[in-house]
Amino acid sequence: MFFKDAEELKKVLGGFFEKAAADKEFAKKFAKSKILIRFNYSEPEFSITLDMTDGENIVITYNDKEKKPEVDMDMKADTAHKFWLGKLNLTMAITRKLMVVRGPVPRVLAFIPVLKPTYQMYKDYLKEIGREDLIEAE
């Protein structure tokens, strides 16, 4: 396991999403989808909700039970980490049930081209917070 507890996961993945959301240009591109998506992680248990319904901003909440997501994605935290590093093919992950998508799958798939630049952003962020150890993780 790359993340020992929910707090560490929040700091790394949550922190990364917050950095991405603060980049207005990027957020606008990302939020064009107007999707409300929740990532439900296991090992450790934690969830991150990205609310892009206004089409311009990414609003991030943690362990949010109030918002009703259009898409839920269930996966292990390690799977998520590998994905954001660009080491995991999304269609392969879905096919092999490493990720379970609840909701409109085409909406998730159509999202992918926007994600490519984020892989480098995630690596840069890990360096920034002194977690280079996670970059080479297999």
Partner: protein, 392 residues
């Protein structure tokens, strides 16, 4: 050929083929422990006597059909699926037999989920790989040769509430048995034979040139392309010829296996959008867009298009791969024109009620379609509009 980064092949469907085989598949039902089947179909199939053909055959072999639902509409819907599941449980059936085209088959797939697990189809099960365990046995007897749904792990069902088409992708909804009997498709008129056949051809070609194509999917795609291009015209002109019908049934199923492993691309994406904006039937939209979508993709899959030229028997070793790719596209265009001549199939968007003023909207929807990530060349608004203009 580049080694794939990832490959998966999984075909849980047992396929049986034969002239008259739909009259008796009781042995296969027995092996599936399907003793009390429930039939899902539509009014047209009922009126053609195709359900009767199967029910009588099964009865003669000791299988009693527990019920029949024959009200599946053109586009399957959540309400219809819930109703089927309710009836299935009311009569105490233990398996589904879907007799029909894509809408009927997808309705049975959706109903199978609700009949087994209950709950809300939309909230609880739409998505990918949500189901925890296998469902009731599902047997499919296709009455068209096009959708390939008899061997795929996907279903598309219309949600009346949100007015959207929902996708269900799960290996547990893949049919257990596909019964391919050419007698079941011989009543299709030439135009339906043409556009369902070209739908299957599009599945095979897009699967072959798609980004997720593997040697496994290619094998099925190539065979499907050969069979369909060889037999579709004869199936249109001589519908009662069971040999032609039989080949088309096999070709469409092979194409279904191919695209369920490597997906479709820009042609399907545009066809979905034409369906949403102008209600153009899916097979017709695919047929119209196919050659133009191929032209768009040629620069990014030159090697694959040259291989396609070999499959189509137009390869010229004196020419470059790119020129062979162009020959392949030209061959498909000419083939479609021949099919159109014998079936009155429209091959221009202006002939199916599409308005140029909606091209921008159609292009936007195409880029949002899930197929866009499988297309070998990046899709752009300008690129899609260019295709639409050429196809107009």
């Amino acid at each position: 050929m580049k080694l794939p980064e990832f490959a998966m092949f999984h075909l849980p469907t047992r396929i049986i083929f034969g002239d008259g085989i739909a009259k008796d598949f009781s042995v296969e039902l027995g092996e599936l422990k399907a003793h009390k089947p429930f039939i899902v179909t539509d009014k047209t199939i009922m009126a053609l006597g195709l359900v009767d053909y199967i029910v009588k055959g099964l009865a003669a072999n000791g299988i009693e059909v527990k019920g029949v639902f024959d009200e599946v509409p053109q586009d399957s819907s959540v309400k219809v699926v819930s109703r089927i599941a309710e009836l299935f449980n009311d009569v105490g059936a233990d398996s589904f037999v879907a007799i029909g085209g894509g809408s009927v088959i997808d309705s049975a797939k959706g109903a199978n989920i609700i009949a087994k697990y209950g709950g809300d189809l939309v909230k609880d099960y739409s998505g990918a790989n949500v189901l925890p365990e296998p469902l009731f046995p599902l047997i499919v007897v296709p009455t068209t040769s096009g959708t390939g749904s008899e061997v795929t792990n996907a279903a598309v069902i219309y949600d009346e509430e949100t007015k959207t088409k929902l996708e269900f992708i799960d290996r547990f909804i893949t049919p257990n048995l596909a019964v391919l009997d050419p007698n079941m498709t011989k009543s299709m008129p030439p135009k339906i034979t043409a556009f369902t056949g070209l739908d299957a051809l599009t599945h095979a070609i897009e699967a072959f040139i798609g980004v997720d194509a593997t040697p496994f999917s290619d094998m099925y795609a190539k065979e499907a392309i050969s069979i369909i291009t060889f037999h579709l015209i004869n199936a249109c002109t001589n519908g009662n010829n069971l040999e032609e019908r039989g080949w088309m049934a096999i070709g469409a199923t092979l194409a279904g296996v191919a695209f369920s492993h490597s997906e479709c691309g820009i042609v399907h994406g545009i066809a979905h959008s034409l369906g949403a904006v102008h209600r153009v039937p899916h097979g017709i939209a695919n047929a119209i867009i196919l050659p133009y979508g191929m032209e768009y993709n040629l620069p990014s899959r030159i090697e694959k298009f040259a291989e396609l030229a070999k499959v189509l028997n137009v390869y010229n070793k004196k020419l470059s791969d790119e020129d062979n790719g162009k020959l392949a596209i030209e061959n498909i265009r000419n083939f479609e024109e021949e099919v159109s001549k014998v079936s009155d199939l429209p091959l221009k968007l202006r002939d199916v009620g599409v308005l140029k003023e909606n091209f921008e909207l159609i292009a936007e929807k195409t880029l949002q379609d899930g197929t866009s990530i499988y297309n070998p060349r990046e899709e752009t608004i300008e690129g899609v509009i260019k295709i639409l203009n050429k196809a107009y």
